[in-house]
Symmetry: C2
Subunit: 452 residues, 2 copies
Amino acid sequence: MAAPSSTFLCLLLLTISATPPPTQSTPTLFPKPTTYQSSLLKQLAKSNPNPNPKLPYNTHYFPQILDHFTFQPQSSRIFYQKYLINSHYWHKNGPIFVYTGNEGDIEWFAANTGFMLDIAPKFNALLVFIEHRFYGQSMPFGKKSYKSAKTLGYLNSQQALADFAVLIRSLKKNYSSEASPVVVFGGSYGGMLAAWFRLKYPHIAIGALASSAPILQFDDITPWSSFYDAVSKNYKDASLNCYEVIKGSWQELEDLSAQKLGLAELSKTFRTCKNLQSMYSVRNWLWEAFVYTSMVNYPTEANFMMPLPAYPVQAACTEMVMPMTCSDDSMFPPSSFDYKNFAENCRKKYGVMPRPHWITTEYGGSRIEQVLKRSGSNIIFSNGMQDPWSRGSVLKNISATIIALVTKKGAHHVDFRSATKEDPDWLVQQRRQEEEIIQSWIDEYYRDIKHR
Amino acid sequence: MAAPSSTFLCLLLLTISATPPPTQSTPTLFPKPTTYQSSLLKQLAKSNPNPNPKLPYNTHYFPQILDHFTFQPQSSRIFYQKYLINSHYWHKNGPIFVYTGNEGDIEWFAANTGFMLDIAPKFNALLVFIEHRFYGQSMPFGKKSYKSAKTLGYLNSQQALADFAVLIRSLKKNYSSEASPVVVFGGSYGGMLAAWFRLKYPHIAIGALASSAPILQFDDITPWSSFYDAVSKNYKDASLNCYEVIKGSWQELEDLSAQKLGLAELSKTFRTCKNLQSMYSVRNWLWEAFVYTSMVNYPTEANFMMPLPAYPVQAACTEMVMPMTCSDDSMFPPSSFDYKNFAENCRKKYGVMPRPHWITTEYGGSRIEQVLKRSGSNIIFSNGMQDPWSRGSVLKNISATIIALVTKKGAHHVDFRSATKEDPDWLVQQRRQEEEIIQSWIDEYYRDIKHR
């Protein structure tokens, strides 16, 4: 009989051919930073643009690998990923609550997710906010990070999830708290990440609270017109007249800008900084404002005052293809989604083509009730029906542990805001349910370890 | 109130700023091949080194993307991934059985996984065998694929799983059979892929049969000495004397090769093609043979006669770090695992460092019973205790649907071989149980669709 070889056998050869020394070394999860990297680290700490002393968190930087999914020399390039820690309430081996950062400075999310700080004492939880790669200070290529597809190509959700996995694992080891249960939290895109993280890394997070997470806004899962129909419904419900005026305003804008001195008049009415060259900037500004006011239609005035950040928007268009249209019933000008055009824009701007079905290939979404009923557990999808993004989220319970908490009056991840005395009952109730469910995950976890 | 922007809002702008044409185009999952690619395809079909007319499969090539996890221009490079189809027993919307190819020509796995062909008629199943990237004809860089880490860096299990996901989805669409339930099958590394595929892509595969899949042979999950202890046990159980002779033979080899003309004598005894320069090649050959004969200790003679392939072994050492040692009780020379040495070998040979904890970060493994009890379902881990790889697999039921089927006398994925009249009862029984469980997954799937 021939003596064939196999990958496994030759792998064995690799292990046995080394001369055996007496000790077995346990490799660390991450190498120590080089001298160059240490000085880079110091620069980052110094140049932190948002050192907000009011935020009860300490800032740290984690040496993160650039590319988790190839094994080339450049893949192992390290960049520093920022994360914030609050250990004030924490007991060792207690739960760790991790915010899976979205598209902006992590400090903003920390400042606007007071909910986690509210519940930390009750759970004796460690709070961790992890900045998403390519945002804030977590720039793999420094100032050149957005230069081209060559650098931007590393910005995608799978790399981000792997970042979280590696960082959380390393953190637990460094805190000597590997028995701590981890729960992930996220709002909006961060909520999508939290849900996907629980599904892809159930061995790292025991559950996820995904607030206003439109994980079904892909392919044909959600009707393409539902987003703008939802915005329109908000306005219509508030005032039918308002809805009709807005619906007719687009034509008026067009008519006015066709007139001589029409654009000058528009510039004056809207108090634009420079004179308008076309009606489109006004139209887009209004369009955005209508959507935005729906999203952040929060119940208390204090919340409204909180300034919202300008997010860098350069890199959403390869992976996250969310087709949207405006139906005849909406208050927006009717429009369809032209994929060819969309793709051509990506190609011109970034030199890459979109992958319109990649998200649903990688994460699923079609028949999600059927799929997750049989696999997956411990996810809360919270939504408010004022928020147009809710239509692309999960609005019905999928199983005993994959639960939809929906409020009629809630807006975009309102549950994540700090509790205030003025909060309406439905909001207090939604947060209480979230707390109870999270508690049940943690209790179950500790029971499971006990009975091993 | 300032009008801030957000990624989502600006994504909206991307969708609304295009002038709306009347139709909505549905982009295909994959672009049509270019002229260059079409001619490459013809070359591949012509040069197929294993056109085995006896294998009841048709050969196809799928245009697969090189890098699923970055979005750079070179990521979208297409290579042709081979896959085999048998549609003889298939009814449309019937189940699709997919073999998640391992480290070799896909034809070999098709030829040695007669089990799938045996059960296809009963299920009216479509059979698909997908070749693993960087093996067989599925070479992303043609003859230069193994040239350096620059090309080899794309060879890893996450890319392979994504290949399977994309291909299966496209196949179902092309066969107009998107309602078909998919079950994945794999043996050895292929079994690891099948299990991980069900865990990572539960929306694509409703279940997995993972035969002889050592998914726990990482980190400290499985004792490092268990593999060689298992081989030694096989020999010891067969003959204590045999075990003792082998245990003593390493020293004898060493002593003999130290003598003048010792190596010449060894060369003569082992009938080597060239004269031995050291004892190590003999030692390694024997070592391999002992391991190998344990692995393939199949119950019927006919199976033994099947030649096994020479697998290319170049690329296992970055991702799959499976520390193994030889205890004093084993019949092998005592040895430990030296990570530093191992890592240095990788660096010298490939210019990259291993990531020893990456597999368990990405897929889990620690406390797997606890984790998968609460998430994940529908996986059969089948093992035979003759197979030393079984020790790194799952040997106990984890839940009602994650099941371990273990036989005392089974060897490396013996259940995957074609049934023969001489098969012992324990083997017939194991296969029957697998069939029944797979049937239950499929029945449940059809019930679920019905009750949507």
